[in-house]
């Protein structure tokens, strides 16, 4: 007797769920729009907050980049989680033989990709508005690993907070202390890269980001199923 219903193994599950996230986003463009507008507004605010105190706003470049990403990601991840929980999608997914870990990993990957897409617009916008040259390609590992960190923690916290009454006010209170190592490492590494330090000097920060990502993704994968169960 053959198994007519073969449950795909986890990488395939992740791939299918990821396709779903990307398709949804391509059709509605909701998350990216929110991210871009919010990020550009943040840049504007930073420019004027800091311009008055120092003529040279470029020293704030890493901070502006990462704070914009921080705000943009917390907003959009929360938005997508609320949408999913309100339509009952996550509960529905849990009824299928899909492993909760796949749901989590696919969401983290999707949110990371959206953050990276945000950077395609954010980085040129920053160089344009702040009159600096486009940051070099060496920033890429930092941006990718930082985005993964922001997405992983953002996703697990948002997922846990669904159906909670005061979620809007609780989200930043819970999320930002947990993201402190990511912001610290990313801004420091970005600053060092922009200032021209060598790989040997800033590679330790890449290591910290990588460790954060691995530790948080592994831990969150293990507890994600508890977060979303009814």
């Amino acid at each position: 007797m053959t198994d007519s219903l073969r449950i795909p193994h986890i990488p395939k599950q992740i791939f299918i769920l990821l396709k779903r996230e990307l398709l949804l986003e391509i059709r509605s463009k909701e998350q990216i729009t929110v991210m871009v507008i919010f990020a550009l507004t943040s840049i504007l605010i930073f420019q004027f907050s800091f311009e008055l105190r120092t003529g040279n706003v470029q020293i704030f470049l890493p901070g502006i980049l990462w704070i914009s990403m921080l705000f943009a990601s917390s907003l959009s991840i929360d938005r997508s989680m609320t949408r999913d929980s309100q339509t009952g999608v996550i509960q529905g997914m849990l009824f299928t033989p899909v492993d909760p870990i796949s749901i989590f990993i696919s969401k983290v990957l999707a949110n990371t990709l959206f953050l990276l897409a945000l950077n395609l617009i954010l980085l040129p916008a920053i160089s344009l508005l702040l009159n600096t040259s486009l940051p070099n390609y060496q920033l890429l590992p930092v941006i990718v690993l930082g985005a993964i960190g922001l997405s992983a923690t953002g996703t697990i916290v948002s997922a846990s907070l669904t159906n909670m009454k005061s979620r809007a006010s609780l989200l930043p209170i819970i999320l930002f202390p947990l993201l402190f190592p990511v912001v610290l490492s990313s801004t420091t590494a970005s600053g060092m890269i922009i200032d021209g330090y060598s790989w040997d000097e800033y590679s330790k920060w890449i290591g910290v980001l990588l460790s954060y990502d691995i530790i948080f993704i592994v831990t969150s994968s293990l507890i994600f199923s508890y977060a979303v169960e009814a």
Binding site: T153, I156, V157, S160, L161, N163, M164, K165, S166, S169, L170, I173, I174, F176, P177, L178, F180, P181, L184, S185, T188, K204, W205, V208, S211, Y212, I215, F216, T219, S220, I223, Y226, A227
Partner: protein, 225 residues
């Protein structure tokens, strides 16, 4: 309150007073820091308790997610409460220690200080969640998740700030500890022991109250619905 309970309470209170006396009065005045060094007898035990508390939150969060008995959630809540109190006192005492001795109320180049601040924020997040989230299993689960994530965040935070201080070297508020002599070590150990005893006692009392309060809330939900 049972007799053993009362005895324990008085013992810990007595020990606390005794160790405070020893620390303040009979221990020697240290050469370089002067009288301010005595804050150390209070600051370090409290710091130990603060970090112990978050470890307890972590362990009880895991146990709650595993066993789903209310007991573990109660332990987590009580530990978080004791944690925020001790962490607040650590930050205040550290700041008031640093100002006369090193001239600064605060230093971002001190990894331990910054990590303690981040831990304070994590405690606050946990407690705000428990108070705003209402009394339900969902909130307890969520609390456990934050407890777990918050705990693993602490060593990562410490390491990243420690790494950062090499780029921004400023005098740190905590000097390196070389081997303390007996006249300092003994009051310190006594102090450490009595603070642990005292907060264990308080924690135990608080746990009883939390258990009663939970039973009461469950009853209320049944009677008034």
């Amino acid at each position: 309150m049972s007799r053993a309970n009362l005895l324990f309470g008085f013992t810990s209170l007595f020990m606390l007073l005794l160790s405070s006396y020893l620390s303040l009065v009979s221990s020697p005045i240290e050469k370089t820091q002067g009288i301010h060094q005595k804050i150390f007898y209070l600051h370090v035990p409290l710091a130990f308790l603060a970090y112990l508390a978050i470890t307890l939150v972590f362990i009880s969060s895991i146990m709650y997610l595993w066993k789903r008995t209310a007991h573990w959630d109660q332990v987590a809540r009580v530990s978080a409460e004791i944690g925020i109190i001790t962490t607040t006192l650590v930050l205040i005492s550290g700041s008031l220690w640093g100002r006369p001795v090193w001239g600064a109320w605060w230093s971002w180049s001190d990894a331990r200080l910054v990590t303690t601040l981040v831990m304070w924020l994590i405690y606050m997040a946990y407690l705000m969640l428990r108070s705003l989230g209402g009394f339900s299993e969902q909130t307890a689960k969520l609390g456990s998740i934050i407890g777990i994530l918050g705990f693993i965040n602490v060593p990562i935070t410490y390491f990243s700030v420690y790494l950062w201080t090499f780029l921004h070297p400023l005098p740190t508020l905590q000097s390196s500890d070389d081997r303390p002599e007996n006249s300092i070590l003994i009051p310190f150990l006594l102090s450490l022991f009595s603070y642990i005893l005292f907060f264990l006692y308080i924690g135990y009392l608080r746990l009883q109250i939390e258990r009663a309060s939970d039973t009461l809330k469950n009853l209320k939900q049944r009677v008034y619905s």
